[in-house]
């Protein structure tokens, strides 16, 4: 695997849109060619090299390409957007859409990320050591087929609207989550190891949610059915099992109605 190191040496006045910063686009390119790729600052299109110094060449394919971002990328959007393979390590914070529409490979952010990270994700792994803002692993606006697959791990807290319209894949939040988890969900799993504020599983059709802490405002559309012991994220624990959202439509499978499941740790 070959490593390309980007160091943000000349920060932008506005935000940089870096959708070209993916192993897919860097693969097969020499450092100088990578520095010539387009990034946007508002309506201004510039070469990547205007803001970043580029060291190292890309690998032959995306799988063989690793990108390391240094410097303060708090104002850089869309890193790793639509990537299919390879690896990205962001040493500090990053802005919006990190790993958006990602299909494969791995992104590791050592700081915090802003909103819309991992939206429309189909595969791969997005790991955030800090906090994530809103719409983590959510669907893009108006898109009723949300996250399809892959794993998102946020060590800290998440904002509101996590996993809206989730269809598959797993999201693990180490800390607390704000309102709206898996709203309109049709599958997938969300695990909140801290507390949830409320509206957990609203309008949810199918899928699973685990909340280890408390839910400040539980929804009336969820009803407790039993207690279960389950292995979640490598550890086994007892959970109260609720089904819902009883207000929402639900499909039937083999003559039985399929509900979404909400588990709260006992």
């Amino acid at each position: 695997m070959k490593t390309v190191t980007l160091t943000l040496t000349n920060p932008s006045e506005l935000f940089i849109e870096g959708q070209n910063i993916t192993p897919d686009n860097f693969a097969g390119r020499k450092a100088a060619e990578i520095a010539a790729l387009d990034v946007w600052e508002g309506k201004q299109k510039s070469p990547l090299g205007k803001y970043f110094t580029v060291e190292g060449d890309g690998g032959a394919t995306a799988e063989e390409t690793k990108i390391v971002l240094r410097g303060d990328c708090t104002r850089v959007k869309r890193i790793g957007q639509q990537m299919t393979a390879g690896e990205i390590v962001i040493e500090g914070n990053a802005d919006m859409y990190i790993g958006g529409w990602m299909k494969g490979g791995k992104i590791h952010v050592k700081g915090n990320v802003d909103s819309f990270c991992g939206i429309g994700m189909e595969g791969g792994e997005l790991i955030v050591d800090g906090n994530a803002a809103h719409h983590l692993g959510s669907s893009p606006r108006g898109e009723w087929r949300g996250m399809q697959g892959g794993v998102i791990r946020v060590a800290g807290n998440a904002g509101n609207d996590t996993a809206t319209f989730i269809n598959g894949g797993t999201i693990v939040i180490g800390g607390d989550a704000d309102i709206h988890i898996s709203t309109h969900g049709e599958g997938g799993t969300v695990i909140v190891k801290g507390n949830a504020k409320g509206r957990v599983g609203g309008q949810m059709v199918k899928g699973d949610i685990y909340v280890y802490g408390t839910i400040e405002n539980p929804l009336p559309g969820f009803s407790m059915v039993d207690e279960v012991e389950q292995e979640v994220d490598g550890e086994t624990a007892r959970f109260a099992h609720y089904i819902g959202d009883l207000g929402e439509r639900h499909p039937t499978s083999k003559g039985k109605t399929v509900y979404a499941n909400l588990y709260t740790k006992l």
Binding site: L14, G42, F165, G202, P220, G221
Partner: protein, 456 residues
């Protein structure tokens, strides 16, 4: 002889009353009387001729005062600001006609700007819900002629849309609703005991910020499930009672307002209201409608959706791609995150409506206000360009809150020399195109206007 003009549309709120009678003086310069309008509608007409109007664009000087300049100079200044900015924001359009909105969109596209309207801080969340969940709506005429159950959820038309209840919802006698008020049931759901709640048969005083839970309970009951004894501060029996009324209706309409759009969850509150409306259609006919605020704030949604496929928060910086994602491309977020470097405020007052922090961020860059009147935004701008008042001095198409287009007319002429929003944007567009052509011809040699600013 003073002249009476009939069937005049009111350029104030989204009810778009089009039955006003306006009396103008002999010389056609003064508005003497306005009949049929409510108090706020009345005011907008009298304000036109009863107050001191700005008749020329005003440019901020280094000493902080304003100096009158010509429209040509103002057009040149605005075009250069847009041309030189990396990401200008054009926001407003609550109070102008569709012709002006279309012309502004042309400017935004050429300038590579973000184009946004007041829905961004108002019913924008309704758009998001509609994208996600559809919009089983109707026209106000259908409500008037058919509805026997009306729900106002988080809306207070008694104050915000004064003639809504008398023209369309509670009081009028329609084709199938000949008994008017007597044959209708009115449900108001609001944490406050509003003046609208006063006229309701049932008022559910929902706990502030918990509408989503209440909707969820309504939906669970509609599907025949048990719910807890109390949800969002409302007892189970009351919820069962209201659901029964809704299911037994012949035709119902849910009108909702800022109570849903401006409390926690925003679009999701509207979204689940839409889901409830759909559920109720398993039993009878139910519809839902947003109580849009200004008389033509529905307009930019209609015009820009037709032009670009999105109703608001349009990022046109890539020119051939329209990108929309509120939270990122919405005006207040752009301002708070310092994502834009020039601002045009048109047909609204961002100075009064935006959070002060957002205003401070925007104020670091050139700020132009286009408005017939003096407002907070005009007083902190680098440039204020006056225009004619739509519906009073300028005719045009407006969209009522139910998406019905209405041709508005003018009753008097604008002050001498004052032009319309449409003409102004067409002229800015022409100047902008000239600048682009010059640039293409001789490379980068553009004079940036001084970003002269008022005292903070």
């Amino acid at each position: 002889m003073p002249k009476k003009i009939e069937n005049v549309g009111c350029p104030y709120c989204g009810v778009c009353c089009d039955d006003l009678v306006v009396t103008v003086s002999d010389d056609g310069k003064q508005i003497l009387e306005v009949e049929n309008a409510c108090a706020i509608g009345n005011q907008i007409f009298h304000h036109a001729t009863g107050s001191e109007r700005v008749k020329l664009p005003r440019l901020r000087q280094p000493d902080g005062t304003y100096k009158d300049i010509s429209y040509d100079e103002a057009v040149d200044y605005a075009a250069k600001v847009l041309y030189n900015a990396k990401k200008p924001l054009i926001y407003g359009f609550g109070s102008t006609n569709c012709e002006g909105m279309a012309a502004a969109a042309k400017v935004a596209e050429t300038a590579g700007a973000v184009l946004d309207n007041c829905a961004s801080i108002c019913h924008g969340s309704s758009f998001l819900a509609i994208f996600d969940n559809g919009y089983p709506s109707c026209t106000l005429g259908e409500t008037k002629n058919r509805a026997d159950v009306i729900v106002y959820w988080g809306a207070n038309p008694a104050h915000a849309h004064p003639r809504h209840m008398s023209r369309y919802s509670i009081f009028p006698r329609g084709f199938f609703t000949g008994k008017g008020h007597k044959s209708r049931k009115i449900v108001v759901i609001d944490p406050r005991h509003t003046d609208t709640a006063q006229v309701a048969d049932i008022h559910l005083q929902v706990k502030q910020g918990h509408d989503y839970e209440l909707f969820d309970a309504f939906r669970a009951v509609v599907r025949g499930h048990e719910i807890p004894e109390e949800v969002a501060g409302i007892k189970r029996e009351r919820i069962l009672e209201v659901v029964e009324i809704m299911k037994k209706a012949r035709f119902g309409t849910i009108f909702y307002g800022m109570g849903l759009c401006h409390s926690d969850g925003r679009n999701h509150n509207v979204d689940i209201a839409i889901s409830l409306t759909r559920d109720l259609n398993d039993y009878t006919k139910w519809t839902i409608m947003a109580m849009r605020g200004h008389y033509n704030i529905t307009g930019p949604g209609a015009v820009w959706s037709w032009q670009y496929g999105f109703p608001y928060c349009l990022d046109l910086t890539k020119k051939d791609i329209a990108h929309m994602n509120p939270g990122e491309t919405s005006s207040v977020d752009l301002a708070m995150r310092d994502e834009v470097d020039a601002f045009i405020n048109i047909g609204t007052d961002a100075g009064a409506h935006f959070p002060i922090e957002a205003v401070k961020h925007l104020r670091k860059h050139p700020w132009i206000t286009i408005d017939p009147n003096i407002c907070m935004a005009s007083e902190i701008s680098d440039l204020h360009i006056p225009v004619g008042i739509v519906g009073v001095e300028v005719p045009g198409i407006v969209y009522r809150m139910d998406n019905v287009p209405i041709q508005y007319r003018k009753v008097i002429d604008p002050p001498e020399g004052v032009i319309s929003d449409e003409e102004l944007f067409e002229r800015i567009h022409k100047r902008l195109s000239e600048l682009e052509a010059e640039e293409a011809a001789k490379g980068p040699a553009k004079a940036a206007p001084e970003g002269v600013r008022a005292e903070e």
